[in-house]
């Protein structure tokens, strides 16, 4: 089974791809922080925040449609929550836009606010993950704040997700071919338990073998890694522009938390 799509964009080439992963990570963190610092009734104030993720997507040659689809797929839970707001917050708020004035219930504003923030957040995150190979993201996290051991585990997780998913599919197919579809629910439950249990056992054995292979190449408990990130003048410019941009977006409006 081909799982290439995760890395499909991340392995590409573009000005954004060339940016240091640390810079991109910090930028997205800062962006997310500023995003949620807007109060719950902010909608039009968020307009300028659209610029950064879209710019990253465009210059990063990541199709915006792809990013929007991520928003739609991930959205339902939070949108459901957001839609409950209008039931509770019925205080009226005036909205003024140029020559137009109207009043809207606070709950609807909040719902819109949360929806917009969510979409922007996902767009920004997608822009980063689709322009940065996972291994470089790991290196960025390692260099910034993450313990080496956790980084190594993230590497293993990433490496073996698809191997294990394929294995799970194979085990499940084997059971299906033994007539699991027609079985009563109790039998089906046991079968599912068996598939997961078998997968666990195989994973345990595999991790044993991996451990042996690591030892065979000299591993003794201390993770070592390559250093591939290079912070250059372009990255400095990127960070400065980002900070200025975020400050402008945030401070153009009075700070209400």
């Amino acid at each position: 089974m081909h799982h290439a799509y995760i890395d499909r964009f991340a392995q590409g080439h573009s000005p954004v791809h060339r940016l240091d992963a640390r810079g991109k990570l910090l930028a997205v963190l800062a962006y997310s922080g500023v995003l949620i610092s807007f109060n719950r009734y902010a909608v039009s104030e968020l307009a300028a925040m659209v610029v950064m993720p879209l710019a990253m997507l465009w210059f990063g040659r990541v199709p915006v449609g792809f990013a929007l689809r991520r928003v739609i797929i991930l959205g339902p839970f939070i949108l459901m929550l957001a839609m409950i707001s209008p039931l509770y917050d019925t205080s009226l708020h005036p909205v003024v836009l140029g020559p137009w004035r109207f009043a809207i219930a606070g709950g609807f504003l909040t719902a819109a606010d949360v929806a917009v923030k969510f979409a922007l957040g996902v767009l920004a995150l997608t822009a980063m993950t689709c322009t940065t190979p996972f291994a470089l993201l790991l290196e960025a996290m390692r260099k910034l704040f993450m313990p080496k051991l956790l980084v190594m585990q993230l590497g293993f997780l990433y490496r073996y997700i698809f191997v294990l998913i394929d294995e799970a599919m194979r085990i499940r197919r084997a059971r299906d071919f033994r007539g699991a579809a027609a079985a009563p629910p109790g039998r089906k439950l046991a079968a599912a338990g068996g598939v997961i249990g078998s997968l666990f056992v195989r994973t345990l054995e595999r991790s044993e073998r991996i451990h042996v292979a690591m030892g065979a190449r000299g591993y003794r408990g201390e993770p070592h890694s390559l250093s591939r990130l290079h912070f250059g003048p372009g990255d400095v410019v990127f960070l400065i522009v980002t900070v200025a941009y975020l400050a402008a977006c945030r401070l153009a409006y009075p700070l209400i938390l």
Binding site: D7, A135, Y158, R159, R206, A216, H224, S225, L226
Partner: protein, 234 residues
């Protein structure tokens, strides 16, 4: 020419009581390629693992003049490299470059040195350009070459290869054989693939039931059909 590998009276017994090896003695000269053949369960993999001290053993194992003991295990491991039957078990890093650099980094090289060694090894096995890829993007044949690269970058004197040709299509097998034929390291190759043995290895050790049943020049051993059928190989 000194021997890069000397094994004397090797005994390996597993926790559940099975005796995988019962008194095996053999040697591999520097730069020599020796094939280890035998039926399933003969003890081929156990032999390879013992050299790395991956299993408990009794007997004497000397790698490149260094006797393998508990203390010296790490140093000995630095002198030989092993590839395993399942390539997915030893390509465990997020990218190919990380995998091939893993060995050198553990040997104490600096990151730039390790990266250079890794790139050279990746190019040597014909996978240049794929350094940034993760192993799950590679084909079976590419993974085999990648596994080989992971130990070539360690610049070891002895390569221990466990069934390197298993599950490979014809073209990938041929490529692998060509690759190995060009290398100057000593090789101990455990395999069922007698064709690969004929093309690559001038010497053969036939293992059966944990003991050496025969050893000598490949031509001689592999043309002895009664010997082969007696040990389940033909």
């Amino acid at each position: 020419m000194s021997n890069v590998l000397e094994i004397q009276d090797l005994f390996v017994r597993y926790g559940d009581g099975t005796e995988a090896l019962r008194g095996v003695s053999m040697s591999v000269a520097a730069g020599q390629r020796v094939a280890l053949i035998g039926p399933n369960g003969a003890g081929k993999t156990s032999l390879l693992l013992a050299i790395l001290r991956g299993v408990e053993f009794a007997g004497r194992v000397v790698v490149d003049g260094l006797e393998l003991s508990r203390r010296a295990a790490d140093e000995v491991r630095g002198r030989c490299g092993m590839t395993f039957q399942d390539a997915d078990d030893q390509l465990f890093m997020p990218t190919l470059l990380d995998d091939v650099a893993f060995g050198p980094l553990n040997q104490g090289r600096t990151p730039p040195q390790a990266e250079a060694l890794a790139r050279a090894a990746i190019a040597a096995v014909g996978l240049a350009g794929l350094e940034g890829r993760s192993a799950h993007h590679l084909s079976g044949g590419q993974k085999r070459c990648a596994s080989l690269a992971t130990i070539l970058s360690m610049q070891v004197k002895l390569l221990l290869l466990d069934e390197p040709g298993a599950n490979l299509d014809f073209r990938s097998r041929v490529r692998l054989i060509e690759l190995l034929a060009q290398r100057s390291e000593a090789v101990l190759l455990a395999t069922h693939d007698l064709d690969m043995v004929r093309r690559l290895c001038p010497q053969v050790v036939l293992l059966d039931g944990g003991r050496v049943a025969a050893s000598g020049p490949t031509q001689q051993i592999l043309s002895d059909s009664s010997l082969l059928s007696a040990h389940g190989l033909a």
